[in-house]
């Protein structure tokens, strides 16, 4: 039932006590780095000591810009010869974000990964196929080490090449696989083209999906296609990568491992903690990383704590699925608007395609939010009044969701330009 029972069901009081101890050790380690060594609040906290975990709020935030600004060695808190691996973002815009690990860090990460998978019901009897890219991306090696630690037979398949993925699954009887959710739809199509049904022609019982925000509807579709349970995985390279938070077999929120991280949720504007259960920006502090501790990292990911205890008995709190990114937020007519809110409305409508674009324009001195929506080809029946109704319907739904009336523009399918990598959805052309 548990990978490390003692830690996973530790009562809150003792869990927080452990956090305080580990936070102190982390601060002492952090000041060995060029960056944190210069921060007075951290030196002060080391001197006066930390007595309750709430005191983490007295420490300054670390942002992605800070991490990039002190590139490449500014956050390194151990001698370079002790470091055994780095992971890094692509850095197509400016310096990459790089994270260093020593042997202890890799062990600790592999253990969290194994704990996560165990919580989702994976056992050493399973055959685990990892369909994530191996390399600087943490989804490859991060899972690999965890799966080996857990004791499964691992198949480091890497990303893509669907025919080979299917062959591997069938040759070795893969029972669990990990992939990004958007890939699984493509993989399923290839199964169909080959005249195969993953429900009958594989031994899969579990899929692990992560690295891309996705809706509950999407998860249900994946479960239906493959005839499996699909578990949500959350991680970010600044906090190691996968294994940060994971769904247990209850499939109701992601346990975030609080012996390894201090977890806060703040209002991205006031920077104060939100009321428990409200959505805000996730802020995390590493508690068990030596080569590169990171303190109060603003992840920009928006989520909330799920209230109440989990039936599985684990005491580590649960995060709701990621609701968006705080740096995507824009203010329109005084309202805070998150693109994921608009996406949420659009993705529930069978009439519209997957791509959309939000244009913020100043028209006659008035700021307007124009949402461009692709009408699905197979839904179009040539009827003007139906399109008119659809337009009004979307207008109302978005107005109800974000409290700003949008101008909806229906556009031809495929006319919204596809972006390379992460999709850019918001274009702000307002007169400042």
């Amino acid at each position: 039932m548990y990978w490390e029972k003692e830690l996973e069901v530790l009562d809150r009081k003792n869990l927080e006590k452990l956090q305080v101890e580990r936070l102190m050790a982390t601060l002492r380690q952090a000041v060995n780095s060029q960056y944190y060594g210069k921060i007075p609040e951290i030196n002060k906290a080391i001197k006066s000591g930390i007595h309750s975990i709430e005191q983490v709020r007295e420490l300054p935030f670390t942002t992605k810009e800070d991490l990039r600004g002190d590139f490449p060695w500014g956050f390194l808190a151990v001698d370079k010869r002790e470091v055994v691996r780095l992971h890094s973002s692509s850095g197509t815009t400016g310096n990459p974000t790089v994270v260093y690990h020593n042997r202890h860090d890799l062990d600790s990460w592999a253990n969290l990964m194994a704990r996560s998978l165990f919580a989702a019901g994976v056992r050493d009897t399973d055959v685990f196929q990892n369909m994530a890219g191996y390399g600087l991306f943490t989804g490859g090696l991060g899972f690999q080490y965890g799966v080996e630690k857990l004791g499964c037979l691992s198949i480091p398949a890497g990303a893509g090449n669907s025919l080979r993925q299917i062959k591997l699954m069938r040759d070795y009887g893969t029972t669990v696989a990990h992939a990004i959710p958007s890939y699984l739809g493509r993989l399923f199509d290839v199964f169909k083209e080959e005249g195969l049904d993953p429900r009958k022609d594989t031994k899969l019982h579990t899929l692990v999906i992560g690295a891309e925000p996705h809706t509950e509807e999407h998860r249900l579709r994946i479960q239906e296609m493959f005839g499996v349970k699909a578990y949500n995985s959350f991680g970010l390279s600044e906090m190691n990568g996968p294994g940060v938070a994971f769904e247990c077999t209850e499939q109701n929120g992601l346990h975030i491992w609080e012996d390894a991280y201090v977890v806060e949720i703040i209002d991205p504007v006031t920077l104060q903690p939100v009321t428990d259960g409200e959505i805000g920006e996730l802020v995390m502090t590493t508690l068990d990383r030596r080569a590169m501790p990171v303190i109060r990292y603003r992840t920009r990911d928006l989520t909330r704590f799920l209230p109440g205890e989990c039936k599985c008995g684990r005491t580590h709190r649960r995060l709701d699925r990621i609701a968006g990114r705080s740096d995507d937020m824009f203010i329109m007519k005084g309202c805070n608007v998150f693109p994921m809110q608009i996406e949420g409305v659009l993705m529930k409508l069978p009439e519209v395609g997957d791509d959309y674009r939000i244009m913020l324009e100043t028209i006659d001195d008035q700021d307007e939010m124009i949402v461009e929506v692709e009408v699905k080809k197979d839904w179009f029946k040539g009827d003007l009044s139906v399109l008119d109704r659809l337009q009004k319907h979307i207008t109302h739904l978005i107005r109800d969701e974000v409290l700003v009336r949008p101008l909806i523009k229906l556009v031809e399918p495929g006319s919204i330009p596809k972006t390379e990598g992460k999709a850019v959805r918001v274009f702000d052309h307002r007169k400042k």
């Binding site: 029946k381 040539g382 009827d383 003007l384 523009k409 229906l410 556009v411 031809e412 006319s415």
Partner: protein, 146 residues
């Protein structure tokens, strides 16, 4: 059963030409055209063509939103007052249409009137009852061009 091809179009430079380029490539002849546009930057192009099924498939393959939509085509006299006479009959038949457009035929004394209604079988019955002549699809598609 007679069909028009309806295409969802944004009101942007070159978008109509994208459609006609596909038809030209396939040597499909346009018999009648009706463009209908909204204040929201998009509209619907309705086409009566020589081969609607082929046009529909090619346009969709070309990435456009095209649909086949059933229509009723009736005959009217090609003379002053011809449309008014026809409309009186349509009113008498009790048929309310959402969209309509016409086309002269070069036999010199008649024209075709294309009607887009919700309930096609009902409209056909009512129009036939008041004595209007419904044109067979091969004649609609095969109308000689001027």
């Amino acid at each position: 059963m007679t069909y028009q091809v309806s295409i969802f179009l944004e009101n942007k430079l070159g978008h109509l030409e994208k459609v006609t380029a596909v038809l030209k490539e396939a040597q499909i002849n346009i018999r009648s055209l009706h463009l209908n546009h909204t204040a929201n930057g998009w509209g619907i192009l309705n086409l009566v063509v020589s081969d609607p099924e082929l046009a529909y498939q090619l346009l969709n393959k070309g990435g456009m939103s095209a649909a086949l939509r059933e229509i009723v085509v009736v005959k009217m006299a090609d003379k002053p007052g011809g449309l008014d006479d026809l409309l009186k009959d349509i009113v008498n038949a009790g048929v309310n249409f959402t969209n309509a457009y016409g086309r002269v035929v070069n036999d010199g004394d008649s024209a075709f009137f294309v009607i887009d209604v919700q309930d096609i079988p009902e409209a056909r019955a009512k129009l036939t009852n008041v004595g209007l002549e419904i044109i067979a699809d091969h004649l609609v598609y095969g109308m000689p061009s001027l």
